[in-house]
Symmetry: C2
Subunit: 336 residues, 2 copies
């Protein structure tokens, strides 16, 4: 299989990677998120991912960068790619339950609330404006920006936002068995709170039913002047739906073939409806010689912390699929 | 008078400006700081400076960017210079009493405590490490970094740290009449708390008697790989004293001639003792046609938010003294 499909016409002399970190309190609903050893612990995952990528190790708490079943966190893949292409990434704290132990560009948001019971992101409009300022700053620092995210529970807020904006969406999951009935139940309850006519006001939709990553990602896209790639699966497609409704440019999305091939979701159909180009990376983890990576091919984890986009970036910067696989396997091995 | 003395051999294709924001609770001691309309209000000044520079206006609270006597805040000068050279600056929140309304790189510190009664910066060592990570990130984004600061009350913490490290320091002030006896009294009380032998451990000195800007500025200097200019007066000389004691390179300092000419302080002597080169900017405000700017020449405000370094940067980027003065006067006029 080709490594990247399609191969876009993108070249960059000063590429950068930015990861947006956020929480939604939906991630502590049992069964919603596989991004952590327990529902409560999913709140820590974005900040620990950032620690791992920036420092090479998680030092603030005793935690392993693996799922309970031994699958490496996608942040390890992102770390490996940053090392390979020689980029120091930057993280944006869009709204975390607890402060991280590494520096982040902070937009002074807050963790997203449960959209079934209250407005999820009361600051949505302000976070969009602050995202624009971040995008303007990053414009001076790079000519290509790969923008990833880490939001446990974020596929469920993506489902809410996509449905509220009128798309027949089915979203992906970090679980092999996507908890579709639970997500549908939450989505139904969240959408029942949506004021009539909200579909025409994407930031109102985010305020009611989204998560803090969304307005910040949309704002960065609006404020950034260079070439942009949104790195993520159905969560980034929700950001694209917001951008389209706002009348902002639609950058391409890069994600893994595991998201494309998730039959419980409809990423390719959704992308076509929104009108966004998706670049799919097939990293060939079945041949990487690591049991945990091979589980990605069985539908576990699939994507996260911009791992798909980070691999696409390494490929676009001239690294061979074999060198990319080798670097990832070596990095994963060092944490095992 | 020449605009910049001496003119360093510095050229850059990708210059950047970073402003470090912090509070010390010393600024609410009446008479210590002129950086705000009241002692309590000085706690807000760094974040409002950042708002002014990034947005062109203070929108989060009703506040004027002037001293009570009508002197423009130095942040207006920095804003004018960013506009002139076409740079979007970035701010680092090293420890503020309240969260700012604009995005900052946050190192998750806290406002500095009163060094007379408790450790001023308990996280000093961690902030130094996090500063290094910020410096590493900024290395990929620029080849010249002008690093400024905004810390009301910071000349008093600078006095404490310089004295603790063995220098016969006298520090500058934003007041025309430097409150030297009050600063000496605070310094004496703070140094009485210093454990014996601390002079050999600069981060212990910062922990006991400094402010959060200091370890972050030192860390950024240690982590940054390009050309660096520390933009500030006696506060940046305190950072240089820390760097020297840590064995880290000593970058040049850029500040205004108003700091050099402050007879209540000894900036040139101090710089010579530390062994750091200081670039002095004489912006010629007596001829700028603005009464508030002319007050700088009488010794009011003098420096702040890297204003001296920002003017030096504009000059090094090829802008004439006349163009620099005109831009500042025009920007100040727009806020009057």
């Amino acid at each position: 299989m080709p490594f990247l499909t399609p191969v876009p016409d993108i070249s960059a002399t000063r590429p950068a990677f930015c990861g947006i970190l956020a929480n939604t309190l939906l991630s502590i609903v049992p069964g919603i998120s596989g991004a952590g050893p327990s529902p409560e612990a999913t709140l820590l995952t974005p900040a620990l991912d950032a620690e791992l990528i920036l420092q090479g190790a998680i030092t603030s708490v005793p935690a392993k960068p693996n799922t309970p079943t031994g699958c490496p966190t996608p942040a390890v893949i992102t770390r490996a790619m940053m090392d390979l292409v020689g980029i120091t990434p930057v993280f944006v704290n869009a709204g975390l339950a607890r402060p991280p132990a590494v520096p982040c560009i902070d937009v002074y948001g807050a963790a997203g609330n449960d959209p079934r019971t209250s407005d999820a992101v009361p600051l949505a409009a302000a976070l969009y404006e602050r995202g624009k300022l971040v995008g303007q700053y990053l414009s001076g620092a790079s000519d290509l920006l790969v923008l990833g995210e880490s939001v446990p529970g974020g596929t469920t807020t993506a489902l809410c936002v996509l449905r509220a904006l009128g798309y027949p969406a089915r979203v992906s999951s970090s679980f092999v068995d996507n908890p579709v009935p639970l997500k549908e139940e939450i989505c139904k309850a969240a959408l029942a709170r949506l004021p009539a006519g909200s579909a025409g006001d994407p930031l109102a939709v985010v305020r009611c039913t989204g998560d803090p990553m969304m307005p910040v990602a949309a704002g960065i896209t609006a404020g950034y002047s260079g070439t942009l790639i949104l790195a993520g699966g159905t969560q980034m497609l929700a950001v694209c739906a917001i951008l389209k409704a706002l009348g902002v440019r639609l950058p391409p999305v890069a994600t893994t073939c595991y998201v494309r091939d998730d039959r419980s979701a409809n990423a390719p159909d959704l992308a076509a409806r929104i009108g966004v180009q998706v670049l799919y990376v097939d990293p060939g983890f079945e041949d990487a010689g690591h049991a945990g990576l091979a589980r990605y091919c069985l539908g576990e984890v699939k994507e996260g912390m911009g791992a798909g986009g980070a691999m696409a970036l390494a490929y676009l910067q001239g690294h061979s699929p074999a060198a990319i696989r080798e670097k990832i396997a070596g990095t994963v091995g060092a944490y095992s």
